[in-house]
Symmetry: C2
Subunit: 226 residues, 2 copies
Protein backbone atom coordinates (compact mmCIF):
# COMPACT_ATOMS: atom_id res chain seq x y z
CA UNK A 1 0.00 0.00 0.00
CA UNK A 2 1.05 3.63 -0.46
CA UNK A 3 1.89 5.85 2.52
CA UNK A 4 -1.50 7.57 2.15
CA UNK A 5 -3.33 4.28 2.64
CA UNK A 6 -1.01 3.35 5.53
CA UNK A 7 -1.97 6.69 7.08
CA UNK A 8 -5.68 6.12 6.53
CA UNK A 9 -5.65 2.59 7.94
CA UNK A 10 -3.45 3.41 10.95
CA UNK A 11 -4.96 6.79 11.80
CA UNK A 12 -1.40 8.22 11.93
CA UNK A 13 -0.75 11.30 9.75
CA UNK A 14 1.54 11.21 6.71
CA UNK A 15 3.90 13.69 8.38
CA UNK A 16 4.16 11.56 11.54
CA UNK A 17 4.78 8.39 9.51
CA UNK A 18 7.61 10.19 7.67
CA UNK A 19 9.02 11.31 11.00
CA UNK A 20 9.00 7.70 12.30
CA UNK A 21 10.74 6.59 9.06
CA UNK A 22 13.44 9.25 9.51
CA UNK A 23 13.97 8.30 13.17
CA UNK A 24 14.20 4.60 12.34
CA UNK A 25 11.14 3.56 14.34
CA UNK A 26 9.51 2.28 11.18
CA UNK A 27 11.55 0.30 8.60
CA UNK A 28 11.56 1.76 5.08
CA UNK A 29 9.02 0.50 2.54
CA UNK A 30 9.94 -1.24 -0.71
CA UNK A 31 10.98 1.50 -3.17
CA UNK A 32 8.84 1.48 -6.30
CA UNK A 33 10.04 4.79 -7.73
CA UNK A 34 12.43 7.59 -6.79
CA UNK A 35 9.90 9.15 -4.40
CA UNK A 36 7.49 6.26 -3.86
CA UNK A 37 7.49 3.18 -1.64
CA UNK A 38 5.15 0.30 -0.91
CA UNK A 39 4.23 -0.60 2.68
CA UNK A 40 2.66 -3.81 3.97
CA UNK A 41 0.81 -5.27 6.94
CA UNK A 42 3.99 -5.45 9.05
CA UNK A 43 4.30 -1.66 8.75
CA UNK A 44 0.71 -1.29 9.85
CA UNK A 45 1.20 -3.53 12.88
CA UNK A 46 4.39 -1.73 13.84
CA UNK A 47 2.65 1.65 13.57
CA UNK A 48 -0.06 0.39 15.95
CA UNK A 49 2.61 -0.65 18.44
CA UNK A 50 4.37 2.73 18.18
CA UNK A 51 1.04 4.46 18.72
CA UNK A 52 0.37 2.32 21.77
CA UNK A 53 3.79 3.13 23.22
CA UNK A 54 3.89 6.86 22.51
CA UNK A 55 0.27 7.91 22.31
CA UNK A 56 -1.56 5.81 24.81
CA UNK A 57 1.00 5.64 27.58
CA UNK A 58 3.15 8.64 26.79
CA UNK A 59 6.60 7.20 26.18
CA UNK A 60 8.98 9.55 24.36
CA UNK A 61 9.86 8.64 20.77
CA UNK A 62 13.41 7.81 21.94
CA UNK A 63 12.09 5.49 24.65
CA UNK A 64 9.72 3.84 22.19
CA UNK A 65 12.62 3.25 19.79
CA UNK A 66 14.62 1.66 22.60
CA UNK A 67 11.73 -0.70 23.35
CA UNK A 68 11.18 -1.56 19.68
CA UNK A 69 14.89 -2.30 19.17
CA UNK A 70 14.95 -4.51 22.25
CA UNK A 71 11.84 -6.37 21.09
CA UNK A 72 13.44 -6.95 17.69
CA UNK A 73 16.57 -8.41 19.31
CA UNK A 74 14.72 -10.66 21.74
CA UNK A 75 11.80 -11.91 19.72
CA UNK A 76 12.77 -15.57 19.87
CA UNK A 77 12.98 -15.51 23.66
CA UNK A 78 9.52 -15.12 25.15
CA UNK A 79 10.62 -14.55 28.72
CA UNK A 80 13.06 -11.79 27.78
CA UNK A 81 10.53 -10.27 25.41
CA UNK A 82 7.95 -10.06 28.17
CA UNK A 83 10.63 -8.84 30.60
CA UNK A 84 11.21 -5.84 28.34
CA UNK A 85 7.52 -5.11 28.16
CA UNK A 86 6.92 -5.49 31.89
CA UNK A 87 9.94 -3.30 32.59
CA UNK A 88 8.54 -0.34 30.65
CA UNK A 89 7.19 2.28 32.95
CA UNK A 90 4.63 4.88 31.92
CA UNK A 91 5.72 8.49 32.31
CA UNK A 92 3.30 9.33 35.11
CA UNK A 93 3.17 9.46 38.89
CA UNK A 94 4.05 5.77 39.11
CA UNK A 95 7.49 6.29 37.61
CA UNK A 96 10.18 5.16 40.02
CA UNK A 97 13.06 7.32 41.11
CA UNK A 98 15.96 6.63 38.79
CA UNK A 99 19.61 7.39 38.99
CA UNK A 100 20.68 7.07 35.39
CA UNK A 101 22.72 4.04 34.41
CA UNK A 102 24.08 3.27 37.87
CA UNK A 103 23.11 0.17 39.84
CA UNK A 104 19.45 0.02 40.81
CA UNK A 105 18.46 1.82 43.99
CA UNK A 106 17.94 -0.31 47.05
CA UNK A 107 14.39 -1.36 47.78
CA UNK A 108 14.51 -3.30 51.06
CA UNK A 109 10.75 -3.41 51.51
CA UNK A 110 10.07 -4.71 48.00
CA UNK A 111 12.87 -7.25 48.56
CA UNK A 112 11.18 -8.48 51.73
CA UNK A 113 7.80 -8.67 50.01
CA UNK A 114 9.22 -10.54 46.99
CA UNK A 115 10.98 -13.00 49.35
CA UNK A 116 7.79 -13.55 51.31
CA UNK A 117 5.84 -14.22 48.10
CA UNK A 118 8.55 -16.53 46.78
CA UNK A 119 8.66 -14.55 43.51
CA UNK A 120 11.55 -14.59 41.02
CA UNK A 121 12.01 -10.99 39.88
CA UNK A 122 14.98 -9.28 38.21
CA UNK A 123 16.76 -6.78 40.41
CA UNK A 124 16.28 -4.33 37.53
CA UNK A 125 12.48 -4.42 37.56
CA UNK A 126 11.55 -0.78 38.31
CA UNK A 127 8.42 -1.90 40.13
CA UNK A 128 10.68 -2.61 43.13
CA UNK A 129 11.40 1.10 43.62
CA UNK A 130 7.73 1.98 43.18
CA UNK A 131 6.84 -0.24 46.14
CA UNK A 132 9.41 1.32 48.47
CA UNK A 133 8.60 4.83 47.25
CA UNK A 134 4.87 4.34 47.88
CA UNK A 135 5.46 3.07 51.41
CA UNK A 136 7.78 6.00 52.18
CA UNK A 137 5.18 8.46 50.85
CA UNK A 138 2.38 6.95 52.94
CA UNK A 139 4.48 7.09 56.10
CA UNK A 140 5.55 10.69 55.37
CA UNK A 141 1.82 11.52 55.39
CA UNK A 142 1.35 9.96 58.80
CA UNK A 143 -0.10 6.61 57.71
CA UNK A 144 1.36 3.50 59.29
CA UNK A 145 1.96 1.17 56.40
CA UNK A 146 4.63 -1.41 55.67
CA UNK A 147 5.29 -4.15 53.14
CA UNK A 148 3.38 -6.70 55.19
CA UNK A 149 0.20 -4.64 54.70
CA UNK A 150 0.72 -5.18 50.95
CA UNK A 151 0.77 -8.99 51.19
CA UNK A 152 -2.97 -9.50 50.57
CA UNK A 153 -2.66 -7.22 47.52
CA UNK A 154 0.38 -9.16 46.31
CA UNK A 155 -1.66 -12.35 46.42
CA UNK A 156 -4.37 -10.71 44.30
CA UNK A 157 -1.70 -9.34 41.91
CA UNK A 158 -0.41 -12.89 41.40
CA UNK A 159 -3.89 -14.00 40.33
CA UNK A 160 -4.18 -10.96 38.06
CA UNK A 161 -0.86 -11.82 36.40
CA UNK A 162 -2.05 -15.37 35.75
CA UNK A 163 -5.06 -13.98 33.86
CA UNK A 164 -2.74 -11.64 31.95
CA UNK A 165 -0.41 -14.44 30.90
CA UNK A 166 -3.29 -16.79 30.04
CA UNK A 167 -4.39 -14.20 27.52
CA UNK A 168 -0.90 -13.94 25.97
CA UNK A 169 -0.48 -17.72 25.82
CA UNK A 170 -2.85 -17.89 22.84
CA UNK A 171 -0.69 -15.53 20.73
CA UNK A 172 2.17 -17.25 18.88
CA UNK A 173 3.81 -14.56 16.70
CA UNK A 174 6.52 -12.89 18.85
CA UNK A 175 5.91 -9.31 17.69
CA UNK A 176 2.19 -9.75 18.12
CA UNK A 177 2.78 -11.22 21.59
CA UNK A 178 4.90 -8.18 22.50
CA UNK A 179 2.28 -5.83 21.12
CA UNK A 180 -0.50 -7.50 23.07
CA UNK A 181 1.62 -7.56 26.21
CA UNK A 182 2.25 -3.81 25.88
CA UNK A 183 -1.38 -3.07 25.18
CA UNK A 184 -2.83 -5.31 27.86
CA UNK A 185 -0.30 -4.34 30.52
CA UNK A 186 -0.53 -0.60 29.90
CA UNK A 187 -4.05 -0.14 28.68
CA UNK A 188 -5.74 -2.33 31.22
CA UNK A 189 -4.24 -0.37 34.12
CA UNK A 190 -6.88 2.40 34.11
CA UNK A 191 -9.62 -0.22 33.75
CA UNK A 192 -8.28 -2.29 36.63
CA UNK A 193 -8.16 0.81 38.84
CA UNK A 194 -11.67 1.72 37.65
CA UNK A 195 -12.89 -1.74 38.67
CA UNK A 196 -11.39 -1.14 42.11
CA UNK A 197 -13.28 2.18 42.42
CA UNK A 198 -16.55 0.53 41.37
CA UNK A 199 -15.99 -2.31 43.82
CA UNK A 200 -15.10 0.17 46.58
CA UNK A 201 -18.37 2.01 46.07
CA UNK A 202 -20.33 -1.23 46.15
CA UNK A 203 -18.47 -2.39 49.26
CA UNK A 204 -19.10 0.94 51.01
CA UNK A 205 -22.83 0.53 50.33
CA UNK A 206 -22.71 -3.00 51.74
CA UNK A 207 -20.99 -1.74 54.90
CA UNK A 208 -22.45 1.73 55.41
CA UNK A 209 -25.88 1.37 53.82
CA UNK A 210 -27.98 3.60 51.55
CA UNK A 211 -29.10 2.77 48.06
CA UNK A 212 -27.13 2.90 44.85
CA UNK A 213 -28.76 6.19 43.81
CA UNK A 214 -27.02 8.26 46.48
CA UNK A 215 -25.22 10.63 46.54
CA UNK A 216 -27.63 12.62 44.40
CA UNK A 217 -26.26 15.37 42.18
CA UNK A 218 -27.26 18.79 43.47
CA UNK A 219 -28.15 17.39 46.88
CA UNK A 220 -26.37 18.42 50.03
CA UNK A 221 -23.58 15.92 49.39
CA UNK A 222 -22.64 16.28 45.71
CA UNK A 223 -20.74 13.53 43.89
CA UNK A 224 -17.09 14.26 43.90
CA UNK A 225 -16.29 13.73 40.26
CA UNK A 226 -15.21 16.77 38.32
CA UNK B 1 1.33 27.09 66.80
CA UNK B 2 2.50 29.96 64.59
CA UNK B 3 2.37 29.73 60.79
CA UNK B 4 6.14 29.11 60.74
CA UNK B 5 5.77 26.00 62.88
CA UNK B 6 2.77 24.86 60.82
CA UNK B 7 5.01 25.22 57.75
CA UNK B 8 7.85 23.29 59.36
CA UNK B 9 5.65 20.44 60.56
CA UNK B 10 3.65 20.14 57.31
CA UNK B 11 6.50 20.68 54.88
CA UNK B 12 4.33 23.26 53.07
CA UNK B 13 5.91 26.70 52.57
CA UNK B 14 4.63 29.83 54.36
CA UNK B 15 3.66 31.37 51.04
CA UNK B 16 1.65 28.32 50.00
CA UNK B 17 -0.13 28.18 53.38
CA UNK B 18 -1.09 31.85 52.95
CA UNK B 19 -2.36 31.08 49.46
CA UNK B 20 -4.53 28.24 50.81
CA UNK B 21 -5.87 30.60 53.51
CA UNK B 22 -6.77 33.23 50.88
CA UNK B 23 -8.47 30.63 48.67
CA UNK B 24 -10.45 29.23 51.58
CA UNK B 25 -8.92 25.75 51.43
CA UNK B 26 -7.60 26.21 54.96
CA UNK B 27 -9.78 27.83 57.66
CA UNK B 28 -8.26 30.91 59.33
CA UNK B 29 -6.32 30.51 62.57
CA UNK B 30 -7.31 32.09 65.88
CA UNK B 31 -6.18 35.75 65.71
CA UNK B 32 -3.79 36.61 68.55
CA UNK B 33 -2.68 40.02 67.22
CA UNK B 34 -3.32 42.23 64.20
CA UNK B 35 -0.93 40.22 62.05
CA UNK B 36 -0.63 36.96 63.98
CA UNK B 37 -2.74 33.85 64.31
CA UNK B 38 -2.52 30.54 66.13
CA UNK B 39 -3.01 27.26 64.26
CA UNK B 40 -3.73 23.83 65.70
CA UNK B 41 -3.61 20.13 64.86
CA UNK B 42 -6.76 20.36 62.70
CA UNK B 43 -4.93 22.80 60.42
CA UNK B 44 -2.01 20.42 60.19
CA UNK B 45 -4.25 17.49 59.29
CA UNK B 46 -6.11 19.55 56.71
CA UNK B 47 -2.83 20.68 55.14
CA UNK B 48 -1.80 17.05 54.81
CA UNK B 49 -5.07 16.28 53.03
CA UNK B 50 -4.63 19.26 50.67
CA UNK B 51 -1.12 18.11 49.92
CA UNK B 52 -2.36 14.60 49.20
CA UNK B 53 -5.04 15.94 46.84
CA UNK B 54 -2.97 18.52 44.97
CA UNK B 55 0.59 17.30 45.26
CA UNK B 56 0.40 13.57 45.17
CA UNK B 57 -2.37 13.07 42.65
CA UNK B 58 -2.35 16.37 40.82
CA UNK B 59 -5.83 17.81 41.42
CA UNK B 60 -6.11 21.54 40.73
CA UNK B 61 -6.55 23.81 43.77
CA UNK B 62 -10.15 24.48 42.64
CA UNK B 63 -10.88 20.74 42.40
CA UNK B 64 -9.29 20.14 45.80
CA UNK B 65 -11.47 22.88 47.33
CA UNK B 66 -14.56 21.25 45.81
CA UNK B 67 -13.60 17.93 47.41
CA UNK B 68 -12.81 19.51 50.78
CA UNK B 69 -16.15 21.38 50.81
CA UNK B 70 -18.02 18.21 49.95
CA UNK B 71 -16.17 16.28 52.66
CA UNK B 72 -17.07 18.99 55.20
CA UNK B 73 -20.76 18.75 54.28
CA UNK B 74 -20.92 14.97 54.35
CA UNK B 75 -18.74 14.05 57.28
CA UNK B 76 -21.50 12.42 59.32
CA UNK B 77 -22.44 10.14 56.43
CA UNK B 78 -19.71 7.59 55.86
CA UNK B 79 -21.09 6.19 52.63
CA UNK B 80 -21.44 9.61 51.02
CA UNK B 81 -18.05 10.64 52.34
CA UNK B 82 -16.42 7.61 50.73
CA UNK B 83 -18.51 8.14 47.58
CA UNK B 84 -16.89 11.56 47.17
CA UNK B 85 -13.43 10.15 47.64
CA UNK B 86 -13.94 7.20 45.29
CA UNK B 87 -15.42 9.57 42.70
CA UNK B 88 -12.28 11.71 42.54
CA UNK B 89 -10.29 10.97 39.44
CA UNK B 90 -6.60 11.70 39.07
CA UNK B 91 -5.65 14.04 36.24
CA UNK B 92 -3.80 11.44 34.21
CA UNK B 93 -4.42 9.02 31.37
CA UNK B 94 -7.15 7.29 33.36
CA UNK B 95 -9.39 10.34 33.36
CA UNK B 96 -12.73 9.57 31.75
CA UNK B 97 -14.19 11.59 28.92
CA UNK B 98 -16.40 14.25 30.44
CA UNK B 99 -19.02 16.48 28.96
CA UNK B 100 -19.29 19.20 31.60
CA UNK B 101 -22.35 19.24 33.81
CA UNK B 102 -24.61 17.31 31.47
CA UNK B 103 -25.91 13.83 32.22
CA UNK B 104 -23.23 11.16 32.43
CA UNK B 105 -22.18 9.56 29.16
CA UNK B 106 -23.55 6.15 28.40
CA UNK B 107 -21.37 3.22 29.33
CA UNK B 108 -23.21 0.11 28.16
CA UNK B 109 -20.29 -2.25 28.72
CA UNK B 110 -19.67 -1.06 32.27
CA UNK B 111 -23.42 -1.34 32.90
CA UNK B 112 -23.40 -4.95 31.74
CA UNK B 113 -20.35 -5.73 33.87
CA UNK B 114 -21.84 -4.09 36.97
CA UNK B 115 -25.09 -6.01 36.44
CA UNK B 116 -23.23 -9.27 36.06
CA UNK B 117 -21.27 -8.62 39.27
CA UNK B 118 -24.43 -7.59 41.14
CA UNK B 119 -22.75 -4.36 42.21
CA UNK B 120 -24.58 -1.23 43.43
CA UNK B 121 -22.80 1.74 41.83
CA UNK B 122 -23.96 5.33 41.31
CA UNK B 123 -24.56 6.25 37.69
CA UNK B 124 -22.22 9.19 38.35
CA UNK B 125 -19.17 7.10 39.21
CA UNK B 126 -16.65 8.14 36.52
CA UNK B 127 -15.08 4.69 36.60
CA UNK B 128 -17.97 3.56 34.36
CA UNK B 129 -16.70 5.66 31.46
CA UNK B 130 -13.13 4.48 32.02
CA UNK B 131 -14.23 0.88 31.48
CA UNK B 132 -16.01 1.62 28.21
CA UNK B 133 -13.22 3.90 27.01
CA UNK B 134 -10.57 1.23 27.70
CA UNK B 135 -12.51 -1.42 25.80
CA UNK B 136 -13.03 0.94 22.85
CA UNK B 137 -9.32 1.77 22.81
CA UNK B 138 -8.28 -1.90 22.86
CA UNK B 139 -10.62 -2.74 19.99
CA UNK B 140 -9.42 0.27 17.97
CA UNK B 141 -5.93 -1.25 18.26
CA UNK B 142 -7.13 -4.55 16.87
CA UNK B 143 -7.47 -6.48 20.14
CA UNK B 144 -10.63 -8.47 20.68
CA UNK B 145 -11.75 -7.56 24.15
CA UNK B 146 -15.15 -7.07 25.74
CA UNK B 147 -16.58 -6.61 29.22
CA UNK B 148 -16.82 -10.34 29.77
CA UNK B 149 -13.03 -10.57 29.51
CA UNK B 150 -12.91 -8.20 32.48
CA UNK B 151 -15.03 -10.41 34.75
CA UNK B 152 -12.10 -12.29 36.37
CA UNK B 153 -10.47 -8.91 37.07
CA UNK B 154 -13.72 -7.58 38.53
CA UNK B 155 -13.76 -10.48 40.96
CA UNK B 156 -10.21 -9.65 42.04
CA UNK B 157 -11.14 -5.95 42.32
CA UNK B 158 -13.97 -6.87 44.70
CA UNK B 159 -11.47 -8.64 46.95
CA UNK B 160 -9.12 -5.67 46.72
CA UNK B 161 -11.94 -3.32 47.76
CA UNK B 162 -12.69 -5.47 50.80
CA UNK B 163 -9.07 -5.09 51.94
CA UNK B 164 -9.30 -1.33 51.32
CA UNK B 165 -12.47 -0.97 53.39
CA UNK B 166 -11.16 -3.23 56.17
CA UNK B 167 -8.33 -0.77 56.59
CA UNK B 168 -10.71 2.23 56.79
CA UNK B 169 -13.02 0.45 59.24
CA UNK B 170 -10.53 1.04 62.05
CA UNK B 171 -10.60 4.85 61.60
CA UNK B 172 -13.45 6.60 63.43
CA UNK B 173 -12.92 10.35 62.93
CA UNK B 174 -14.73 11.30 59.66
CA UNK B 175 -12.08 13.72 58.35
CA UNK B 176 -9.34 11.24 59.15
CA UNK B 177 -11.34 8.51 57.42
CA UNK B 178 -11.68 10.72 54.33
CA UNK B 179 -7.97 11.51 54.42
CA UNK B 180 -7.00 7.86 54.68
CA UNK B 181 -9.47 6.93 51.94
CA UNK B 182 -7.91 9.54 49.64
CA UNK B 183 -4.39 8.48 50.48
CA UNK B 184 -4.97 4.76 50.29
CA UNK B 185 -7.12 4.91 47.16
CA UNK B 186 -4.80 7.24 45.24
CA UNK B 187 -1.41 6.42 46.62
CA UNK B 188 -1.75 2.66 46.53
CA UNK B 189 -2.58 2.69 42.80
CA UNK B 190 1.06 2.80 41.62
CA UNK B 191 1.98 0.14 44.17
CA UNK B 192 -0.85 -2.16 43.10
CA UNK B 193 0.20 -1.79 39.46
CA UNK B 194 3.81 -2.39 40.52
CA UNK B 195 2.76 -5.60 42.27
CA UNK B 196 1.10 -6.69 39.04
CA UNK B 197 4.34 -6.07 37.09
CA UNK B 198 6.37 -8.04 39.63
CA UNK B 199 3.86 -10.88 39.55
CA UNK B 200 3.83 -10.81 35.72
CA UNK B 201 7.60 -11.20 35.64
CA UNK B 202 7.47 -14.08 38.11
CA UNK B 203 4.66 -15.75 36.16
CA UNK B 204 6.54 -15.37 32.87
CA UNK B 205 9.54 -17.13 34.44
CA UNK B 206 7.26 -19.92 35.67
CA UNK B 207 5.82 -20.36 32.17
CA UNK B 208 8.74 -19.54 29.87
CA UNK B 209 11.71 -20.52 32.03
CA UNK B 210 15.12 -18.92 32.71
CA UNK B 211 16.37 -17.74 36.04
CA UNK B 212 15.52 -14.56 37.90
CA UNK B 213 18.81 -12.91 36.93
CA UNK B 214 17.93 -12.54 33.24
CA UNK B 215 17.71 -10.32 31.29
CA UNK B 216 21.19 -9.12 32.13
CA UNK B 217 21.98 -5.45 31.65
CA UNK B 218 24.33 -4.93 28.74
CA UNK B 219 23.56 -8.35 27.29
CA UNK B 220 21.97 -8.82 23.89
CA UNK B 221 18.48 -8.32 25.36
CA UNK B 222 18.73 -5.29 27.63
CA UNK B 223 16.13 -4.66 30.31
CA UNK B 224 13.52 -2.28 29.01
CA UNK B 225 13.37 0.17 31.88
CA UNK B 226 14.58 3.65 31.17
Amino acid sequence: MRISELSRRSGVSNATIKYYLREGLLPPGRATAATQAEYDETHLRRLRLIRALTGVRGLSVAAAKHVLDAIAECQTDTHRLLGIVFGIWPSDAGKPETNGDGPPQESPEADALIDAMGWSVSEYNPARQVIDQTLRTLRSLGIEYDWQALLPYADLAARTARHDLDRLQTVTDPLEKAEQAVLLTFLLEPALMALRRLAQEDESIVRYGEGPDTPQPGGPCPPGHE
